[in-house]
């Protein structure tokens, strides 16, 4: 059993009187996909925000390898190989597709004190951007402004930007949101390829995708973990069926 690369223990977050996430423990191991599912409001996005450093936990700890990253700001966590994509597309709309990835690639190199050579001349960063775009299938669209991409292409760009930073961990927040069946198939195939090299946390509503990709499944309801385990065990779990999947999905299984 490989060492987990990102471990959350007893993670919790409250907003005033509202408990959004309560006592969540999970681990991400390399070369695997850990999917998190649950109804709306279950706390899945809050969980990703806690892991990425966008929110600080009220309780619990997060470890990245040997490092305690519980109180770390998001940029520091990102620098240590954790990349995320956003549920609501969060790209640089006015920049070209290529520039979005180039900037992402730039982030992980020394650039604060680079004031003189034009950014385009850094061949390594250009190569990383091109590679990331190629992996997600956007190579032909690099000159287009991100705002002009289709919805599905922009979701792919989200992932490309994460990849351009060469992360060890990918936190993906509903990458298939708003996509039609064709585009979804394409992204699922992409994620299958990525699972070979990364530790992926996948928050998703699309059950077909989840059961196709996940090595491990965690079900969250009302901020808590209802059940966690291999997909078949979750599928068979009566609590889960009752609380979440509903009778139609049960008969479809």
């Amino acid at each position: 059993m490989t060492e987990p690369v990102l471990v959350a223990t007893g993670l919790g977050r409250r907003f005033g009187g509202l408990v959004a996430v309560d006592d969540v423990t999970l681990a991400l191991t390399p070369q695997s996909v850990h999917a998190v599912i649950g109804p709306n409001g279950a706390g899945k996005s809050t969980l990703i925000n806690l892991l990425s450093g966008d929110l600080s936990p009220s309780t619990g700890t997060i470890r990245l390898g040997a490092l305690d990253i519980t109180r770390w700001p998001s940029h520091r966590i990102a620098q240590h190989g954790v990349a995320r994509s956003f549920q609501h597309t969060n790209v640089f709309a006015a920049f070209s597709t290529f520039e979005n990835c180039r900037l992402a690639a730039q982030s992980h190199h020394r650039n604060f004190n680079r004031w003189f050579r034009p950014a385009e001349r850094y061949a390594d960063w250009n190569a990383a951007a091109e590679a990331a775009l190629a992996i997600v299938g956007l190579a032909g669209r690099s000159g287009i402004a991100a705002a002009a991409l289709s919805h599905g292409e922009r979701r792919a760009l989200e992932i490309a930007m994460a990849l351009a930073t060469h992360p060890a961990v990918l936190l993906l927040d509903e990458p298939l949101a708003g996509m039609g069946p064709e585009e979804s198939k394409h992204i699922v195939a992409l994620l299958e390829r990525l699972a070979g090299d990364h530790a992926i946390l996948l928050v998703e509503h699309d059950m077909d995708a989840v059961f196709a990709l996940a090595d491990r499944l965690t079900v969250m309801v009302n901020g808590r973990i209802l059940a966690s385990g291999p997909p078949e065990a979750i599928r068979a779990n009566a609590d889960v069926q009752r609380a979440y999947l509903g009778t139609e999905a049960v008969s479809a299984l």
């Binding site: 640089f92 900037l103 982030s107 992980h108 680079r114």
Partner: protein, 320 residues
Amino acid sequence: MKRSLLPWLILAAILLLLFPAVAEKFYLQLVTKIMILSIFALSLDLLVGYTGLVSLGHAAYFGIAAYTYALVSPAADPANVWLTLPLALAASAAAALLVGALVLRTSGVYFIMVTLAFAQMAYYFFHDTRIAGGSDGIYVNTRPDALVPGVDLANDLHFYYFVLAALAVVFALLAIILRSPFGRALQGIKANEHRMRALGFATLRYKLAAFVLAGTIAGLAGYLAAAKEGYVNPEMMAWHQSGTVLMMLILGGMGTLLGAVLGAFSYVLLQEWFSALTKHWQLLMGVFIVAAVLLLPQGLIGLHQLRMKPRLPRAEDERD
């Protein structure tokens, strides 16, 4: 540098170089003043147009350098440019570093208000105390000495080219910096700071560096202004001054360097025209500003962009 603007840039440079040949004294001094304000506007463009930090207190760094020059200049002899200028720049940079470290923790409207408040603090410091002449200000009796044989800054023509050289250096420096990785990061911060942090950029550091750089360049403008007039007073850092330079940016169009220069020229020429019409020229200027905000969201540069054939914003330009 947007390729489409390059011909205009070259034209502007040629015009400025040749202008003294046809200009009489009043206009020579006027254009010198406008070039100094262009440097000031360029410094704010870096901050507002490229990094997205709307500062309403930028005049503080303009004034601090001006006062430093006046305070360290000898009473009777010309000051040494190569000693006084670095000192003045250092004073502005230090002030910007101190204020920036404090205010960059805020954002949005808070940032606007605190930058204004700190500039007011500087204003009252010089206005209420006798440290530097209070509201009367200080006079400097001679222009500084460039210590270059044949160059006499007391001569308006020489001073004109001195300022033009400074403007050229600032313009080139900013053009280079904005194309660099650091400059790209600043523009990313303006576009979407949250995303930049998610990618791993320590954005506070970049914003502080931009703030200090902008303050330093504003200091250069302040030094030149003080050297030109031989007089400094607290109004140089009043918030009207901060508002005016912001207006120049909106007029010319932010997000391009040429726009800042264009804005400075347009604003001063407008002011001259309005002043000739009535002593209540500020009324006309106020109405003009309101109209400009409502009707010209992209500034005068926007008119140029409308004329170009329509293409997606920024996409092809990124590869320039």
